[in-house]
């Protein structure tokens, strides 16, 4: 019965209740949508990182990442890659030679990381091939094809079929160079990555660097699903106990950090909105109990325990808050669902976003855990808001409250 009483009491003063409910609805809707937006950006960033940049796992010689030196290669790395391919849940492996070099056109130069790859294997691991703007994936040029990014092409004024020279230090520490021809131009949503990475054929780079046959610096591994990554990591460690086998989180802890920080940031966001709403709810409920002084006095007089009266006010406050909260959450979800499909266009900020790997076409994403947490937070806010008014209500002296003079 108390539920019915509390619910009906909310609607005794429609206008006043609606003002509070609308405020809560707007605030929560904005909050839910904003968090879906931020989540969407994060998810896209991670997907880009895994699909285009880091993959799920990477295998290196234990000194390679720290020093970057050519000599820390994995001997017979090609064969190892083959073995990893046979493991369960491995979608593909991409063995690579990695070398720092200078790429120069007729007029200018820039520092790049050159990756010597095997296109057929690479295709199963990264999706760079889907990001080709022009040309082909290291095909169409007979000798020394090279794949560069749009950012680099613009920087050095290069086109398809342009001639570039790669200058680098080989295994014997000799400075060596060779000419390459641009076979393709790619573009991902991470311009910082693009600017620095170029791709050539494994065999061509092997020759240039004077590395032994089968040597690789890095084996990138793509798993069927990121859930299996730890298991695959274990399996690879078994195969090659002296090598460094790292997951994407271990390679880029800052990515993991950003995701975690973003989660916290989202909840903080909602908390601040709820705090702002708290004032209005408390004021409304204080007014409510003030108006109902005699009524509450009567209830206390006829024998309703103070605990029950407290509970009644608490219930009414929570219901008032939830009325706005539920509509807000549902509304927020609906709007987010719409933009999950029809993305939000932020291309006016494209350059800034892409410098840090964020897509400028954002698909919002609802996190079910978030919906649950927000609901709980709203309920909690209702309870907190109720405390002071309910406490005041039970302190009413029934004799005084009923005195009619």
């Amino acid at each position: 019965m108390l539920i019915a009483i509390s619910w009906r009491n909310i609607w005794r003063n429609k206008l006043r209740s609606l003002v509070v409910i609308i405020a809560i609805t707007l605030g929560i809707m904005a909050g839910v949508f904003s968090t879906a937006f931020m989540k969407g950006m994060m998810v896209q960033r991670l997907e880009t990182a895994i699909r285009s940049e880091i993959s799920n796992l990477q295998v290196h010689d234990s000194l390679f990442r720290i020093t970057g030196e050519l000599k820390y290669f994995i001997p017979k790395g090609m064969a190892l890659a083959g073995s990893i391919d046979t493991l369960e849940h491995v979608r593909g492996t991409a063995p690579r030679i990695i070398v720092q070099a200078m790429i120069s056109s007729a007029e200018a130069g820039s520092g790049v990381s050159v990756l010597g790859i095997e296109p057929e294997r690479e295709k199963k691991v990264t999706d760079i091939i889907d990001h080709l703007e022009e040309g082909q994936y290291l095909e169409g040029v007979r000798r020394n094809p090279i794949l560069i990014s749009r950012k680099l092409a613009d920087k050095l004024n290069l086109h398809l079929r342009s001639r570039v020279v790669l200058t680098l230090q080989d295994l014997d520490r000799n400075l060596t160079a060779d000419a390459f021809r641009v076979a393709g131009i790619y573009r991902t949503t991470n311009t910082s990555y693009d600017e620095v990475h170029v791709f050539v054929r494994y065999d061509d780079l092997l020759r240039l660097t004077a590395l032994p046959d089968g040597a690789v610096h890095e084996i990138a591994v793509r798993t069927d699903d990121d859930r299996f990554t730890p298991a695959v990591q274990q399996a690879i460690r078994h195969l090659a106990p002296r090598l460094e086998v790292l997951t994407w989180e271990q390679i880029s802890p800052e990515l993991r950090y950003i995701v975690a920080a973003m989660d916290q940031y989202m909840y903080l966001f909602i908390a601040i909105i709820l705090l702002a709403l708290l004032f209005g709810i408390i004021n409304t409920m204080l007014m409510v109990i003030l108006e109902r002084r005699k009524e509450i006095g009567m209830l206390l007089a006829i024998g309703m325990s103070r605990l029950r009266v407290f509970g009644m006010i608490l219930l009414e406050t929570v219901m008032l808050t939830m009325a706005g909260g539920i509509v807000g959450i549902v509304g927020g979800i609906l709007v987010s669902k719409y933009f999950e499909v029809h993305y939000i266009d932020l291309s006016m900020f494209g350059k800034g976003l892409e410098q840090w790997g964020y897509n400028s076409l954002v698909h919002t994403r609802i996190d079910p855990a978030l919906v649950v947490t927000v609901t709980l937070m709203v309920i909690f806010t209702g309870i907190v808001a109720a405390l002071y008014p309910a406490w005041k209500a039970i302190r009413y002296d029934p004799a005084e409250a009923l005195r009619t003079e």
């Binding site: 206008l15 006043r16 003002v19 509070v20 609308i22 405020a23 707007l26 605030g27 904005a30 909050g31 904003s34 020093t67 970057g68 030196e69 720092q100 070099a101 200078m102 120069s104 007729a106 007029e107 200018a108 130069g109 820039s110 520092g111 790049v112 920087k155 004024n157 200058t167 680098l168 230090q169 520490r173 400075l175 802890p253 800052e254 950090y257 950003i258 920080a261 966001f269 601040i272 909105i273 705090l275 702002a276 709403l277 004032f279 209005g280 408390i282 004021n283 409304t284 204080l286 007014m287 932020l346 006016m348 900020f349 494209g350 350059k351 800034g352 976003l353 892409e354 410098q355 840090w356």
Partner: protein, 405 residues
Amino acid sequence: MKSPVIAWRNIWRNKRRTLITAASVFFGVIFAAVMSSMQEGSYSKMIDNVVKFYSGYLQVQQEDYWENKTINNTFVLSDSLSGAIARIPGVTATAPRLESFALASSDELTKGAVVIGIDPEAEHRVTNLERWIIRGRYLHPGDSGILMGDELASYLHVDVGDTLVLLGMGYHGVSAAGKYPVAGIFRYPMPQFNRQFIYLDLKQAQELYWAPHRITSLVVMVRDHYQMPAARQALDTLIHPPLRVMSWDEMQPELVQLIASDRLGGKIFKAILYVIIAFGILGTVIMMFAERRRELAVMIAIGTQKRLLAWILFLEIVFIALLGVITGLAGSVAVNTWFYHHPIRVAGEAAKAFTDMGIEPVYAFSLMPSVFYNQVITVFILVMLVSLYPMIKTACLKVPQALRG
């Protein structure tokens, strides 16, 4: 009795309600002001870090240089032009640079680097470069040594006294090569500079690249970005094709966009907060009006003009808001000023995430007046909007009905 006095006393008839409403405004103002301060503070820092260390506020370049950053797009700076520029009011310093790319080799390793030929004294006046030296010494005019960033030095396994070979592309395509001792090592708060930059005396650089007397840019500094527009105008009158002027925002569009997107996000969040607070004030106003309907009717009956009553009600809203705004401003001035002088240093994983993104790991605060007066303006607008309610209700008040209720 004067209206303001009546209005002031009226708001204290329900002390708690007035205080809670004022508290909500206080919360909004202080939160928005602190948030804005942090945002503007971080933007200023980001801009400063790039502008003061690298790009300067303005640059004079050969007109094709920006699209095509090659040694071939350099120019010769005449003494008369140089003098004229230095005399522009607001210009604090100028520095010529020859900037290009080279492969830097130590005994063991090679990496691409950005080579900047500088006039050591001029450069220091513009970027304070000497301040960032952590080992070795700064360059003197005609110095044959180089300065390099600490991360680059540690990657190449070199330190002060070691020799570095620079290999690049000179004027009209001639190969550029030279051997230089490491004179000093610097560390700047932004890691990308420490990973890529090598400074060389200007004349040495011009020799290396076969470009005597030529520079890629003249960096022009003003005191702060408020002085920039005036200086730019003056520069524009002096600079004609084949030269052009570029300002830092044209040279760093990613940074500009990033700041713009963050600012927009902040505006949206503050808007949500203020909307919620507005509803809170509206709720209070509705309650105030409802409980005084009879009293207002009596006043009209005995001959008070409705206009006067509306004015008093308006003043009541203003006073309540003012309570919140004044305390909020006082609080935010205190908070912002404190943190302006004692910025919050970020540590640990968070710090690494910041530096990876190229931002100094600090929360800096700004004392820009707009941070504070924006809140006042916003609250003022809210008060205007909310006061429509009592205005309309008073205008529509029917005395007989109100007297009965």
